[in-house]
């Protein structure tokens, strides 16, 4: 076998494998898009390309009298944005203190964070449920926002601290000599330089609540409080198959914007994760 045929075989096999992989990846996507245009409520007797394609299911979702979908979407976005703002504010201040100051309790604090980031915070789901119940925060978005923010702190503080450590301390010192106070150095010197890592932290803090199911499922009880994950799950678990086409339309409307957001920002995701993996 000469070099040329060898190369030909190698590339043909490669393309064949890639084609199969793409088929497996895209099939569910095409199927759910097809289902969402399928007339009728159930899928029995349908094909992947529906014969009488219809937008009815999308109309139903956008009609507040027929579905709570828009409310769920609004709830989810609200929770994600508030969580993101809170988390970025807390993480940037904590990471700054851990990076720039040597204070009593610093070492213990860092070790505590390291250990806490190992336990997923939903592991304590009984406690979260009972505590939310006792404090009257069951079925409120506030409870969810606080839990999400708290859960994000340990890992992301480490991530941000690692980045802050790379910003030269000489900058702070010269600013201090020029008479800048503690807060001013944080706000006007270090924060602008830390924008890349803050973007990564913001991204994580937005996506984590968006994709969470378990905590929202524990805390939220009434339908008009649901997030998308819980709402969508209830939509099909309560009467599986009977509303499947509407569910399909709902899935498409979540998947497309998030996938676009994700694919356009994936560089940051990957840089954040690799930084987290090797540094903290």
């Amino acid at each position: 076998m000469n070099m040329r045929t060898q190369k030909l075989v190698r590339l043909t096999v490669s393309y064949a494998i890639i084609a199969i992989a793409i088929g497996i990846i895209l099939y569910p996507v095409l199927w759910i898009i097809g289902s969402s245009f399928n007339p009728g409520d159930s899928l029995s007797g349908s094909s992947i390309i529906p014969e009488n394609a219809t937008l009815d299911h999308y109309r139903e979702l956008f009609n507040p009298e027929q579905s709570d979908y828009l409310i769920w979407y609004w709830n989810t976005l609200k929770i994600c944005v508030v969580t993101m703002i809170l988390a970025v504010a807390m993480i940037s201040t904590m990471a700054y203190a851990f990076s720039r100051y040597r204070f009593i309790g610093r070492k213990n604090g860092l070790v505590t964070f390291l250990i806490l980031q190992m336990i997923p915070n939903f592991a304590a789901l009984i406690a979260i449920y009972v505590l939310a119940y006792l404090t009257g925060l069951l079925d409120t978005h506030l409870a969810l926002i606080l839990i999400y923010t708290g859960g994000l702190l340990p890992m992301n503080t480490w991530l941000a601290k690692g980045y802050f450590d790379t910003i030269p301390k000489e900058l702070d010192e010269s600013a201090r000599i020029d008479g800048a106070g503690h807060f001013r150095i944080y706000w006007q010197i270090v924060m602008p330089l830390a924008k890349p890592i803050l973007a990564v932290v913001a991204l994580f803090s937005f996506i984590t609540p968006f994709t969470d199911f378990i905590l929202a499922q524990i805390v939220l009880r009434s339908e008009e409080k649901y997030t998308l994950a819980v709402g969508l799950y209830k939509m099909i678990s309560d009467q599986f198959g009977n509303e499947f086409t509407t569910f399909a339309a709902g899935s498409v409307l979540i998947a497309i914007p998030i996938a676009i957001l994700f694919l356009s920002l994936q560089k940051y995701f990957i840089s954040g994760l690799t930084a987290g993996g090797t540094k903290g």
Binding site: Y15, A124, A127, T149, F213, I236, A248
Partner: protein, 427 residues
């Protein structure tokens, strides 16, 4: 100022500081002393009842239903009381330390800081605490508090029959743990669930890693075209929120209208497979779904590593007559593993606790007769069921403890090997 070795200011100040503030006043730092005194007094007045009831509550968990004792409320108050006491002890320690240090300064004949200097010092030293405290406070309430709660709960008999306000909950020591390992019904379920959790974690994670690395290396071939487009498609499963994909898969595998049985297998001439009612097939489906969900992440990471491996290495290997497989085994794979080993380990711990895929696909089912867990339940989804379906809070807490010990052991082992833990500056 001349040093005076005879004075014993530090000891006197320390002793007086047993009542916070007096030591400072003795050191002639009147304002600081008064602040400490007021702080102590208000602490004692404000928290006396809380600490009193809390400590009594956490020891007894309530004694009288007629009086309306609510064991779980009392347990909660008890934890808060302990946290408050810890906070108080910290402040107390600062007070003792401060009195001692200033007393020592006087012994050595140094001048003490003036009020203005004290204020400046406090701002300088206090700034990092100010920055850390909002986040730390939140952490105490939503992360540390629940953990303490679960730990304590695992030593109680809190379940459907011991459920406030109708009944009291009692401390039962390590009975929950003993039951899990000794009582047949619990032990059998635990062993089943644990075995499946381990198999699931190992097979699903290893599979997604192997597929991710394989595809990344495949796409990275020099003479392959359309790289950018292929990579974007391959990352797609990661970009779609997992809960959406899993629910879609639940539809695809559905036995009445799902496309897998109706279209794909039918086209291949294979009979319908009971994906959701036969444990073995549900497991196969779950592992396949996790491959689909999980490989893009590994794929993206490995692609990044591959692009950073210098071409010269491969060229040198080619000159030495290495085959493709040899190059992969001796250059590519070690580089990949070295760069992303920590991420790979977090993938295992992630799947160990991958509640979403198990619960959303088939609710941990199909059910097993006489067990509280379904045949595809992993530990975390079993805990969920024990809590919300059978109200076995005490047992669920004990299993959570077992699960946490496993996860922390693995994670500690990992972090001891990572750079930052060894970095001197961290400490």
């Amino acid at each position: 100022m001349e040093a005076n070795a005879q004075t014993k200011h530090r000891k006197t100040a320390l002793l007086l500081s047993l009542i916070p503030g007096l030591g400072q006043i003795y050191n002639k730092q009147y304002i600081k002393g008064i602040i400490f005194l007021i702080l102590t007094a208000s602490f004692a007045i404000a928290f006396y009842d809380l600490i009193d009831i809390g400590l009594w509550g956490i020891v007894t968990l309530g004694t009288s239903l007629e009086r309306g004792d609510h064991s779980i409320f009392l347990l909660t108050q008890g934890i808060i009381a302990i946290l408050v006491i810890v906070l108080g002890l910290v402040i107390y320690g600062i007070n003792l330390n401060d009195a001692y240090k200033n007393g020592k300064k006087r012994d050595q004949g140094f001048a003490l800081n003036s009020l203005k200097e004290q204020y400046q010092n406090m701002v300088d030293a206090g700034f990092p605490y100010l920055m850390v405290s909002p986040g730390f406070l939140l952490l105490v309430f939503v992360v540390i508090f629940p953990i303490l709660f679960v730990i304590l709960l695992s030593f109680t008999n809190y379940d459907l029959y011991h459920s406030p306000p109708a009944n009291l909950v009692d401390w039962i020591g390590i009975q929950n743990y003993i039951d899990i390992f000794k009582m047949d019904i619990w032990r059998d379920t635990f062993v089943d669930v644990f075995a499946w959790t381990v198999v699931w974690t190992f097979v699903a994670t290893t599979g997604q890693i192997v597929i991710g690395i394989f595809l990344a290396v495949l796409i990275n071939q020099k003479d392959l075209k359309f790289k950018g487009m292929i990579r974007t498609i391959f990352i797609l499963p990661w970009a779609v929120p997992a809960f959406v994909s899993i629910l879609v898969f639940a539809g695809m595998f559905n036995e009445t209208f799902g496309t897998i049985n109706n279209d794909i297998l039918a086209a291949l001439g294979i009979d319908a497979i009971p994906w959701l009612t036969e444990p073995l097939w549900t497991r196969v489906a779950l592992i396949f779904i996790q491959f689909w969900l999980g490989f893009p992440f590994i794929f993206a990471m490995v692609t990044g590593v591959l692009q950073s491996i210098p071409d010269e290495l491969y060229e040198a290997a080619t000159v030495d007559g290495a085959s493709m497989w040899q190059k992969f085994r001796t250059i590519t794979l070690p580089m990949i593993l070295f760069a992303i080993a920590p991420i790979l380990i977090t993938q295992y711990t992630f799947n160990f606790n991958n509640f979403n895929v198990i619960y959303l696909f088939n609710g941990g089912g199909p059910a097993v007769a006489g067990q509280t867990a379904g045949s595809t339940d992993i530990l975390i989804s079993w805990i969920y069921k024990l809590t919300f379906t059978s109200a076995q809070y005490g047992k669920a807490a004990a299993i959570t403890m077992i699960l946490s010990v496993i996860v922390i052991t693995v994670a500690l082992w990992q972090f001891r090997r990572t750079k930052s833990f060894q970095e001197e500056d961290m400490m």
